[in-house]
Amino acid sequence: MDAAGIVLSAAVAGLFAGAPMSLLHRRAGYATATVASGLLFAVAIVALVAGPVQGLGWSGPLGDPESLRLDGLSAFFALAASTVWIATSFYSLAYDDRPSPLLAICYSLTLGSIALLVSSSSLVLFLVGWETMTLASYGMILQAHGRSGRVFSASFVFLAFGEASTLLVFVAVAGLRVMTGTFAEVPAAAGSLATVVFVAGLIGFGLKMGVAPFHMSEWLPIAHSSAPSNASAVLSSTLTLAGAYGLFRLLSLLPSPPLWWGAVMLGIGAVSVLLGALFATVSEHTKGLPAYSTIENNGLILVALGIALIARTDGLPGLYVFALFAAFYQALAHAVAKTALFLSAGYLEHAAGTFDLNSLGGRTRGSDRTAYLGTLAATLSLAATPPLAGFVSEWMVLEALFQSYRFHPEWVQFEGLLSGAAVALAAGLILVAMVKFMGFSLLWRPRATAADPRAPGLGAPIAAAGAAIVGVGVAAPWILKFLTPTVAAFAGAPVVAPVGGLLSVPDGWSIVSGSPFGIISPPVIPIALAAGALVAVGYYALGRRRGARRVAPWMAGSVPGLERETYTSFGYSTGIRIMMGSLLQTREVRAQVGSVTRAELATPVSYNVDLEVLDVFKVFYDGLIRFGEGVASVLKTGVMPGRLGRYLAYILIVTLVVVIYVASAA
């Protein structure tokens, strides 16, 4: 074990050590997490530059060697996650003002377990990390302010989804063990079990990524239980990242996939992209909206991965590698942007005391410049505005989709076409969603009197995340080159980064899709923008223009900006609610409040009107939950009096042990 290996071991241990440190003081816990995240970041860079890093190793309980190690794939995810954690941990120092250290403990455990599963070299260790992560993040959600029935039922759903995920991941791991005869992460030869492993893994990891039709697992705990903001950021940015890592790892262990694997991933991805964007657009919750956007972004990862797999089977190596790069870039871009957005939601909560965009209505406008800039970068990036991170990744995914005309047979081509349409439509919708978030929180004139912003120390991490977003966007060609080992590790073969040059743009400054297909140059865009701005400023300075006259906006002669007379964020997206009525099951609920008298001319009637949308999947799961609760209450009262959660955990552990035993015996 070299120096880098020591640092890696220290980083993982440090992240776990945040938990006992939190008992001293929660700030100590967060500080430890910040430092450990920094270490992980550093060692991930080393791993990407200098090749795999080998950390602490030991012999596992089943006799297999287990160790911490970062290969290209692990290093990339460790890099993305640690970037997020540096910001969230630092932010938590100021954010978490609870008297109890429980949140800080669960937070550190979550981070540690994610680091563990990402850097594990053995599938058993991966599984241990996975389950710890599920339990620890469940603990974080329980720390929501104002515990109500809703908090418990939403976190219960989260736990149920989490355990289902663990079971399926376990099945996949067991399958791999049978195929390879070892728990070490080595590629399996093709076999009849491959399909079982793939399906179980796809569903198991898909559950964590919150892709359709399991998207409640993403938004329900975050939006409905209003989980703490640092927890939300970790859940939505890095928990889903862990899911993505699992999927990448799984696919890297299963060579020569059949065509339908890619097609299924592409399909699930496209549906998730559309559903996520749609529900983000109509969400009025400062955390629900980003959570839905996560569903969209993870869908994009699946779309890119699906294209990659199809391209590989179809014998299109160029497209295969490009789509892989797109998938990785999408994961990175989303992680940083979403972090900024959730931290911003926490800031807004502190500043205005609400998660409701509708009542927020610009009240926090102008309160904190750093928060403002960070949120601006995040929303613009998620809306795919050049030259930010989200723009580059979305461009790459779309470019890969455009080339689906090369696929065979025709039905896959056709699927590519439909997915392209879904992704394009989603891009339009998510723009509305992001404009809404930014507009009604920090940009537009307030609907009510401005809030008193009392959230010092929260702005800086948001701005830092914003800077990361700009960096990941502008420096995209170099980052892509940097990612080459990661992609190579995944592909199991040397690859070349899709960068080049065109016209007078220097070689290596542009991203090229296919040969030749599309080309963009993220670093040139800000230069062009700056040049344009310079011309405008120069023109303004040189010309003999008198000072601009400021006048109130023209509103047909009315006074602008009365609270009752200002567009609500709800109204802003009602067009979508009505247009997409069949998908959203939009319906108006009208209740009469006042009474009608005979003298209609004198007494107006009073109505309460609500326009409701419905997630059909939620209806299904609600039914399932009610059924589950019914069964549980029978068990609880009739069979085994005691705490339900404990029994569940107990049953789980027993199952786990039995299955491992059976699998290893086989």
Partner: protein, 248 residues
Amino acid sequence: MSVVPSWVGQSIARGILTTRYPREPATDAEVPATGRPPVPVGGPATLAAAVRSCPVGAISEAAIDQGICIRCARCRTHGLEFAGSVESATRSRGDLVEPSARRDGTPPPLASLKRSLHVFLIDVGSCNACNLEVLALANPFYDSQRLGIFFTNSPRHADVLLVVGVPTDAMVEPLRRAYEALPEPKAVVAVGACPIGGGVFAGGPGLKGSLAELVPVDVFVPGCPPTPVNVLDGLLTLTGRDRRPGGT
């Protein structure tokens, strides 16, 4: 269904309707009697006799105040006739009383916008006739666009505020906002007796005396209501666009 050809056929069948004003004098069909200001036809002596006939007090022994004349025709039985010039718009309130000073040498207020003038109509308390006469400028008979005159939907896009009606208390604020919203250079045209001096409503409850009390007025177009040709004359006065003198 041959919808398009039939609309086209209908249009061709109707031929060209558009007035030749301002290249040629306006016709009697375009401007009926009340589109012209009343003037004494029997010498100044008739003025004195007509003073008492006027319901708005526009006639004094020395002169007629065309600004508040509502063209009620009562003075016609006392020797006055609607025989003044169709081009009755002036650039100062005083000129409506003393016509000698009309069209002096100073450059018109919006000379730079001779070729393209964007107009916003604002009603501050009219009877609706003035609004409709102004909007009639868009019909094929007047076709103001041939002269580069366009109506806008927002004062932010306009050069000129065309004000109709007598300013009510409630409209003072919206009027001020609209005036503020106009970009520079801007001008205000008072269309009709109402904004010029209250018209028939002068002195009514909750009314301002005149538009000039509220915003600077650049051109006054007398009449109740002024005909579209009168309004066109007012807008041309604003830009100083060349035209032949109308029929007197």
